[in-house]
Structures are given as C-alpha cells and as structure tokens.
Amino acid sequence: MDPAQIAGILKQGAVPTSWYLALSAVLFVIGVAGFVLRRNIITVFMCIELMLNAVNLSFIAFAHEHKQVSGHLFAFFVMVVAAAEAAVGLAIILTVFRNRSTLNIDEIDSLKN
C-alpha cells in the first residue's frame, strides 16, 4: 500500500476496519509481552489493562463494521469488569507490598505445589 493509496483512503474520511484490528493486535501483543517479561506487579497489572483494551478496540471495530450494538455492549462489560478488577487488584498489590516490601513478581511464589 503506497502513500498515495493511504492518502486516498484518508481523503475519503473512512479508516478501514482492518487498520483498527491491526492496532488492536499490536496492543494485545505488547500487553502479552509485558505480562510475561516484566517483573514489577504494577507493570504487569497495566499490561493486563492493555490487553483488555486491545480486545475492546476489536469489539468496537467489529461493531462499527457490522453495524451491530452487541459489540458496544461487550466493550462496556469489559470496562466494568476491568474497573472492578483494578479495584481488587490494586488492593491486593497494596497488601502484598505492605507485608513483603517488594513488588517483584518472582519473589511472590508461596502458592505452589
């Protein structure tokens, strides 16, 4: 796709759905990579949020593509769950930090075997 084509598309005022999906995939992969590779709990937590929002983006894109409202509804549900999760997750992280004085996820592994 050469710049002229891109300029043509932008001139029409409509970004194709595939672009949104590509962005969503990129965001999701960044989230996954962060989740797996980073050791700070806060960062891991933010990566989870990033993955959720990447999915939200695909929902919205498909909802716009198919002119259906259910995609929007799913996005709202995901937001609500993410908010609740953020509240609980942050509380857990606070307590863990108070007890262990660390936010390194590799050191918090007592729930095993």
């Binding site: 989740f35 797996v36 590779l37 050791r39 590799d106 729930l111 095993k112």
Partner: protein, 615 residues
C-alpha cells in the same frame, strides 16, 4: 397317617426352644425340653408307629411336599418306614433318650449347658431325618446335618485349640467322603432319572454292572468318610475331644453307623456290583485289624474306645461286604448298646477321677465306683463276644458270613476279635484293678448317670436274645447259605475272645511288668503302633502341608499379594508418580503460568489454523 413328621420334628422343636431361649431358661426347663422331646419321639416310634403295622411286606410311605422341581429332576420331602428304618429309629431314639438323660448329670457343671442340649437335639433331628428319608437327597440332608452337629459338638469346648482343630478335621475329612456320596447321587440320577429309593432299587437290576459298581464305590467313599473307614478314619479318634455323651451318641452309637445304614439301604445296588462288595469287605476287614492294633497300645481311655469303634465299624462293613447285611445291621445295633455303654461308663470313670483320661493315672476303681465297674464289665463282656451277650450273636453272624464268603477273612476277623477282647479288658483291668494311682479321692457317679448305664448294660447282655435282627429282616435281604461248620466257627471266635480276656488279665493283673517288657522288646514296632502308625503325620506331609505351602506360596504370596495387591497398589503408585510430575508445573511463579497460558493459546491457534481456521 402315622404322622411320621412328628418323629424328627419333636427334637427340632426342642432345638428351637433351647437354642433360642435356653440362655434365660432354668436348667430344669432345659432338661425337660431336651429329654422330653427325644423321649416323646421315642415313645411315638415305639408305641404308635411300630405296633400299628404288621410289617409283613409293609412299608409306610409319606409325601409331604415337593422340595425341588426342575425339569425332570423332582425331589419330594418323602419319608418311608420299613423294618430296617424301624430298627434304626428305635436305636437312635432309644439310645438318644438314655444319653440325653445321662448328659443332664454329666454336663451339670459345664458352661454352655443350653447350647449343648440344643446341638444334641438338632443332631437327633438330622439323624432321624437321615433314617426316615425315602430318597437319597433327603438322606443327604440328614447326612450333612449330622456332620454339622458332629462338628459343633466336637468343638464344644471351643476355647481349647485341640478341640477346634479336631472339629475342623472331622468336618474336612467328611467333606472328602461327602464329595464321593454327591458324585454317587449324580450318577444315580443320570442313570435312573430319580433319586427315590423305590424307583432306583426297582430299576437297579437291569443296569450294567460297571455303572452299579461305580455308584457303589462312590457310595463307599461317602460311607468311609462318615463311618470312619480306611483311609478316612483319622477324624474319629480326634473327635473324642468332644464331651463324652457326644462321643457315645454321635461317634459310637448313631452317626458313625450312618454309612453302614446307607450301604444296607442300597443293598440292591451293592448286590449287583460284586466287585464293589469285595472292596467293601476288604476295607472293612483292613480297618478292623488296623484300628484294633492301635487300640492295644493306647493309654487314653476314650482313645481306646475310639479305635475300638473304628474297628467295630470295620466289622459292620465286613458284614455288608460279604453280603450279610442283616448281620451288619445286627452288629450296628448291639454295638450301639455296648459301645454307648462303654463310652458312658468311661465318662463315669473320668468323672470319678476328676477329669483324668489317662488309664495310667487310674486303677483300683472297683472299690470306689462299684456300679460303674459292674456295668463296664457287662459292656466289655459284650464287645469281647462272651457267649450269650449281644456282641456274641452279631459278631458270630458276621464271622460266619465271612467264612462262607472267604475263609481267610474269617481267620483275620477272629484274630481281630481276640485283639478286641484284649484291649477292652486291658482298659478294664487298668481302670478297676490294682491300686489307685491318680490324685484326689475317686467317687461314684450320680444315679442319673448310672440309671441309663444299667439299662444299656441289660441291653448289652440280653440284646442278642431280645432282638434277632436277621430274623426280622429276613425278607428284606437275600438268604444266606448255611455253613456246616457253624458251631465250630462259633467255638473258635468265642475261644479267641476268651484268650484275649485271659491274656489281658495275665498281663495287667498278675504280671504287670510283662507288658512293659514286651513293649521294650518290640521297640520300634511298638512305638510305630503307639504313634497310630503315624498316619496323621503321613497325611500331614502328603496332603495338608503341600496344600498349606502351595496356598501360601502360590495363592497367597504370588496371586493375592503379587497380582491382585500389585495391580491395585500399582495403579495408586502410578497416579502418585504422574501427580508428582504435574506438581512441578505449579511453581507459584505467575510469569511461568502466563507463559503456559500463552503457549497453550498459541498451540490452539496453530491447531485451528491447521484444521482450516475459523471462517
């Protein structure tokens, strides 16, 4: 008509009452129920069933209900009474009544009083069932039932290891015999299509000799188990672990003679199988000699009489084997009289000596227990075949028939008769003559015990005159040819008995050291006989030990522990191993979990891609 069902049912009711409520009943009630039920059944037989028939060719038959109906296999609960059954009924209920009366005094101080009488009544029920049966299966019910009661009563003192072992031995050895009897019944059914005595005996003469011989030999296996014949006699001497009235009733007078009764009942089959008859005679003769030699060397008074019982049962089989069925039954009856007397007398002696059974610890009892001495003398005379006593008639009848069959059998029988007289009188002299060698002061038994002994003593002396069994049964069994030398044979067998008595008197009263010297002179032979020819040891080595070791090595250690336990434990162990591996995945490290999830997702996506993706 004659309410035959009443005869076995009365003792059964006694068993139910004493068995269920006996623990709470006073002794007087237990006695009344136990004795009353047996005496009532005796009176019913003696006063109602017996006299009300002329017994010519007559046979009372009764069909109560169909027990088993399967295809053409039809077994009814049938009773029949002919003269043979009548004689058995009189013996069983009559001797049974006397022994029940005796036992109330003998068992007075024993625990489990009600249990004892419940078992004894149950025994009477099964024994009467056996005798009354009109087909082989009902006979077999009684046959197994008396075996059960025998087992229960041998092991009556179940806290004694030797008693429980003896009970097990009796039961297991009898299983061998019963297996033979069961096979005989199968053969009878296959060949005759019925188990009814009437049908079988009517059809038997037309069947091939081989079939009848096979049936007769298998019946002999059963009879040898129940009636303690070689090679299955080993349980009877051990059965003396039971209380003495049990030894008298079950292991001398009634149950052990069931084999003789069964062979006589099946006389038609046996008569058409001469080879089987010969085997019966040989086994009977061998058992008679064999057991008599062991009896000579025993010191336990009950063991002497136990081997004597085995020997006398051998005589009965000799009688049956040479075709003198009525003589066998006659000896069965007189033996029931004098052997019950000897055993009950031995019980009285044992009571007198405070539970001592070793004759070396007795002696001189005629001063302390004169009545016991007198009645035992009567019994010992009878078993020795003293002229005029009951044993004289029946033994003579058997020996004469044996002479007619084969003279050498007569001579072996005469030698056995001499040995019988010797060992019984040896026991008599050791017990009643000389000086008392035991502990404490011996005492005479109560009149409750002595009264049945006196009745039996009279029967032992006069039973031969009173009941001429061959005369009664002469139309049931074929006639026996006259033997010209009969009086000579009689004189020889009497002489053998008298020599035996005299020899025992010389060895155990006059010259008491002689027996020890002879035993020393014989050395190894004496020890072999004293150890009962080590037959028990041989059976142990040949049969019991291989089975025990085989079961423990193959069945227990290899199959049970190895295969079955191994399979169950192996499954458990594999589950643990796999679980242990899977456990390592749960490391507690969140990033590793995430990696697993990622890897799983990637795999799923790749698989979906391979499968054609989601369109």
């Amino acid at each position: 008509m004659f309410k035959l069902w009443l005869i076995p049912l009365l003792p059964f009711l006694g068993f139910l009452i004493n068995g269920i409520f006996g623990r709470k009943l006073p002794k007087l009630v237990i006695n009344a129920v136990a004795i009353g039920s047996v005496v009532a059944s005796f009176l019913w037989v003696a006063l109602v069933v017996g006299p009300s028939t002329d017994w010519g060719e007559h046979k009372v038959q009764a069909h109560y209900f169909t027990w088993i109906q399967s295809g053409n296999f039809n077994v009814g609960w049938d009773f029949a009474v002919d003269k043979l059954t009548m004689i058995m009924l009189m013996i069983v209920t009559g001797i049974g009544s006397l022994i029940h009366i005796y036992a109330t005094s003998y068992m007075d101080h024993e625990g489990g009083y009600y249990r004892f009488f419940a078992y004894l009544n149950l025994f009477m029920f099964f024994m009467l069932n056996l005798v009354l049966a009109a087909n082989y299966l009902i006979l077999f019910v009684g046959w197994e039932g008396v075996g059960l009661c025998s087992y229960l009563l041998i092991g009556f003192y179940f806290h004694k290891k030797s008693a429980t072992n003896a009970g097990n031995k009796a039961f297991i050895v009898n299983r061998v015999g019963d297996f033979g009897f069961a096979l005989a019944m199968f053969l009878v059914f296959i060949n005759f299509g019925t188990l009814n005595f009437n049908g079988v005996f009517a059809a038997a003469p037309g069947k091939p000799v081989e079939t009848l011989t096979a049936i007769a030999l298998l019946m002999l296996v059963g009879a040898a188990g129940k009636s303690a014949q070689i090679p299955l006699y080993v349980w009877l001497p051990d059965a003396m672990e039971g209380p003495t009235p049990v030894s008298a009733l079950i292991h001398a007078a009634t149950m052990v003679t069931a084999g003789v009764y069964m062979c006589s009942r099946s006389s038609v089959i046996f008569l058409h199988a001469p080879a089987a008859m010969q085997v019966v005679a040989l086994i009977g003769l061998a058992t008679a000699v064999f057991a008599a030699t062991i009896g000579i060397t025993q010191y336990d008074i009950k063991k002497v009489f136990a081997y004597s019982t085995v020997s006398q049962l051998g005589y009965m089989f000799l009688g049956v084997g040479v075709g003198a069925f009525s003589a066998g039954i006659w000896h069965l009856m007189t033996h029931a009289f004098f052997k019950a007397l000897l055993f009950l007398g031995a019980g009285s002696v044992i009571h007198a000596c405070h539970g001592e059974q070793d004759m070396r610890q007795m002696g001189g009892l005629r001063k302390y227990a004169p009545w016991t001495c007198l009645v035992l003398a009567c019994g010992s005379l009878a078993i020795a075949g003293f002229p005029g006593t009951s044993g004289f008639f029946s033994k003579d009848a058997i020996l004469t028939a044996a002479y007619a069959h084969a003279p050498w059998m007569f001579w072996v029988g005469v030698v056995t008769a001499g040995m019988t007289a010797f060992y019984v009188w040896r026991a008599f002299w050791m017990t009643f003559w000389g000086d008392y060698r035991g502990h404490g002061k011996p005492h005479e038994s109560s009149w409750v015990m002595l009264a049945p002994l006196m009745v039996l003593a009279v029967l032992s002396l006069a039973g031969g005159f009173l009941f001429n069994v061959p005369e009664m049964l002469k139309d049931m069994f074929p006639e026996h040819g006259e033997v010209p030398e009969e009086h000579m044979l009689m004189a020889i067998s009497v002489a053998a008995g008298l020599i035996g008595i005299a020899l025992s008197w010389y060895m155990y009263v006059v010259n008491t050291e002689l027996s020890g010297k002879i035993a020393n002179a014989l050395g190894g032979v004496y020890r072999l006989v004293n150890d009962k020819y080590r037959v028990d040891e041989a059976y142990d080595a040949a049969i019991v030990e291989p089975i025990i070791h085989g079961s423990s090595a193959v069945l227990w250690k290899t199959i049970d522990q190895g295969v079955i336990d191994g399979a169950v434990n192996g499954i458990g162990a594999r589950a643990q191993n796999v679980g242990g591996l899977l456990r390592r995945i749960q490391s507690g490290n969140i990033r590793s979990y995430a990696t697993w999830v990622l890897a799983g997702s990637v795999v799923v996506i790749i698989l979906m891609g391979i499968a054609g993706g989601v369109r």
